[in-house]
Symmetry: C2
Subunit: 205 residues, 2 copies
Amino acid sequence: MSAAGPGRRRGRPASAEKVAGEPDTRDRILSSARAEFAESGYDKASVRAIARGAGVDPALVHHYFGTKEQVFVAAVEGAFAPAMGIPDLLLSGGREQWGEQLVGYVLGIWENTVTRDPLLAIMRSAVNNETAAAIFRGLIGRNLLRRVAGGLGMPDAELRVELAVAQLVGTALLRYVIKVEPVASVPAEELVVRLAPVVQRHLTG
Amino acid sequence: MSAAGPGRRRGRPASAEKVAGEPDTRDRILSSARAEFAESGYDKASVRAIARGAGVDPALVHHYFGTKEQVFVAAVEGAFAPAMGIPDLLLSGGREQWGEQLVGYVLGIWENTVTRDPLLAIMRSAVNNETAAAIFRGLIGRNLLRRVAGGLGMPDAELRVELAVAQLVGTALLRYVIKVEPVASVPAEELVVRLAPVVQRHLTG
């Protein structure tokens, strides 16, 4: 878990140039962290493996980000960036289009492996680890729920948004994680057609 | 989690009487296995901990069930028993009631901690482990999807059932696992009212 000294063998030590603050070192660590959390989940992920994936010394990971939990927050916050566009997307258009827009946008994030991996990381980790679940709740609550629900402006708006999110999260779970057929192989466009009215109903029905 | 003998230390081998085939030994192992898989997920669960929880020797767990994977199948198949009543429940009534019946029944299983734990075990494990995911796919596919979809008798029936299941699985994930408010605290009856029409629409709309 913690920093290994310079004489360490396994996990190639970082070269001097890398330590000296290449502008992309931080990004490389974050990208390795996302891959590691996606692959292993929070509990099994290690700072050592994240450092190895980035080609740096574990001490540098701690230097930039602190504890494993803090690395996770940083990795996940960046990974959540695409989802953070949702409130703006919805609030800029008529609310009778929200169902279709939300479903299309979320499926777009999941269909792209670059943005899917971090979401898998969050889901795998939050299901198995209370620390990760708390981070997830915080990000979802602060950034997504509150703004979209505010835009709806109904007393039960947060519950409405959550039940819409539940449809999308459950579909993602069966399609991308558990891979149950036929939902795992149906074209994304067909899912948009099927899910948009249901999500619309949750939001404004 | 479950009963430990009075004088038991850590990991002590079971007493002779316990090994000699008490009728409930098998059940005690299964119940301990469910608790262990629910708590730790498939990867982190160990036959040793399952044995300890049941107050028996690990060799006895292997004797009854074989490998960890086989213990998991046995624990999960029993745990799935309540869900296996779903096809009969639905097929015995008018299909315009399926939404309400399915949502009420599934929430009933989740609201009861005795039946919730095994479902948590399956969900935590299937999200993080391909072996567990394959078992989940097999159980869902063989027992649930095919029969309910057969009852619907539409060409896209399996996809319809899966999207209904996705709504329920996603809601369970947010309510019981991640515990996002307000969906975590809303009365189950209110969820039935909100989800039944959506699930009905997936199935027959």
